[in-house]
């Protein structure tokens, strides 16, 4: 579905990484870990075509993202759900309107409204639909961002430090949601520092762990 082929990225004369290759296949579950500043967020933004690779190719469903038109990239993004590190909501809209945004931009809002209550209940936000994002706690924001990422039924879910601002209990709950999505066939890639989360995930799903370090992507060993 999404493939990195010898991808490199740099800016301002600094090369962040190069020669990265990765394939996100249907049903895959990956964790991406590595020290701060290694480029995990940048890698996720390359995978969602939010950034353009300075070297190599990012293939979105077989098409080179660098060669795709702006509308084609937009259409490909509808197949990718993203949970950004800082959640990024439109604070003047309600939680329900934020969650429905991916369907609204695709002109499919009505179909989302039908199963919105069920989705919000799934992420434990049934009572928060009409609240504004600034009124939510850290964990609630993460779950609202997850609901927004999955409402359009994406084939790939990219989550950037989704448990960074929540307690252990909430991180377990979020992990459970990722595992359930993965079981339904969604390819999941979670960038995280949280080793306990990764260990917990490996006990529930066949998750593969990738480490981004020194500009290279390596498969992590059995130390996890």
């Amino acid at each position: 579905m999404i493939e990195l082929a010898d991808v490199g990225y740099g800016y301002g004369g600094r090369r962040l990484f190069s020669g990265l290759s990765l394939a996100l296949a249907p049903g895959a579950f990956h964790f991406l870990t590595g020290p701060s500043g290694a480029g995990k967020t940048t890698l996720l933004r390359l995978l969602s075509a939010e950034l353009r690779a300075t070297e190599g190719r990012v293939l979105l469903w077989g098409q080179d993202a660098g060669m795709m038109g702006r509308d084609e990239v937009a259409l490909a993004r509808r197949r990718i759900g993203v949970v950004p590190q800082d959640c990024q909501f439109l604070d003047h809209l309600s939680v329900a309107e934020n969650v429905l945004l991916p369907l609204a931009v695709a002109g499919r809002r009505a179909e989302g409204e039908a199963h919105l209550p069920e989705l919000l209940a799934w992420v434990g936000l049934a009572g928060q639909a009409q609240q504004r994002p600034p009124e939510l706690s850290g964990g609630e924001r993460q779950r609202a961002a997850l609901a927004r990422a999955v409402i359009a039924g994406p084939e790939v879910l990219l989550a950037d430090e989704p448990t960074g601002n929540v307690d252990w209990e909430m991180s377990q709950r979020l992990l459970q949601l990722f595992v359930e999505l993965n079981r339904m066939g969604t390819a999941v890639l979670v960038a995280t520092h949280d080793m306990n989360l990764i260990r917990a995930a490996k006990s529930q799903a066949s998750a593969r762990v990738l480490r981004l370090r020194g500009g290279a992507l390596q498969a992590a060993g059995a130390d996890l």
Partner: protein
Amino acid sequence: MRGRATGIWRLLGGDRDIGRAVPPTGFTARLTLLTAAAMAFLAVFALALSLASGRLAERWGTALAGSATVRVSAPEDQEGPQVDAALRILAQTPGVLAARALTEAEDQALLEPWFGPDLPLDALPIPRLIDVTLGDGFDAEGLRLRLRGEVPGATLDDHARWRAPLAEAAGRLRLLGMVATGLIALATAAMITLAAQAALAANAQVIRVMRQAGARDATIARAFVRRFTARAAGGALAGALLGTLAVALLPAAEEPGGFLAGLSFQGASWLVPLLVPPFAALVAFAATRAAAFATLRRTP
């Protein structure tokens, strides 16, 4: 053209949810509203000036074209017979509806503004004037030749030398009004473009979130265009109403109001200010759309 029409249709008819993605308040919202209101207010005055100068040109042209003057300057003993001869010729001339020699009192009244009420007309060689009312088929040159042959002291003034500069002056006033309206439209477009660019820069987060959600550039642009078009139309409506009210309160043409007397709308032209808000909305639509696409193309 078809794409633009479709864009306007979609703007009016659908995507209300997308329009809500852009925060409704902020500095740029107030700036757009105020700019549109001020420009619409000025546009109403420019339109009033343009229409009034058009009417003025027509009125001057009609009044001067419908009359002529025959001036008879002759020695005292020949003045009466020459005036009679001129009146006789005028009565026979096709296109002359009426001809009447002015009385001494009327001559006095004409000269009074320049020389005062005590002017001794008898002591001055004042020519006799014949006021001629003209209709269709009048041949000024033919009459001029005949008068030259039969009434040597008579000179025909068909007002052509007055009419041309007055018509030109009125035409320039009308042009000035149209240029002012055009400049106001351009200034409105420039201000709304700047406001739209500021709004796009201030709402980088909105753009990023919408992009991440899979929005096309056209969808994001439409969200901003909808907001700005609505604000511009609202502001222009308020400005046009205030401008129309201000024009209505100007002194009427028959009142002693100096140059501004008559700077008003008449009859159906009172509906012209109604065109200002939709026109402002169109300008805002085009300006915001261009600004939005230019900004979106610059961002990845």
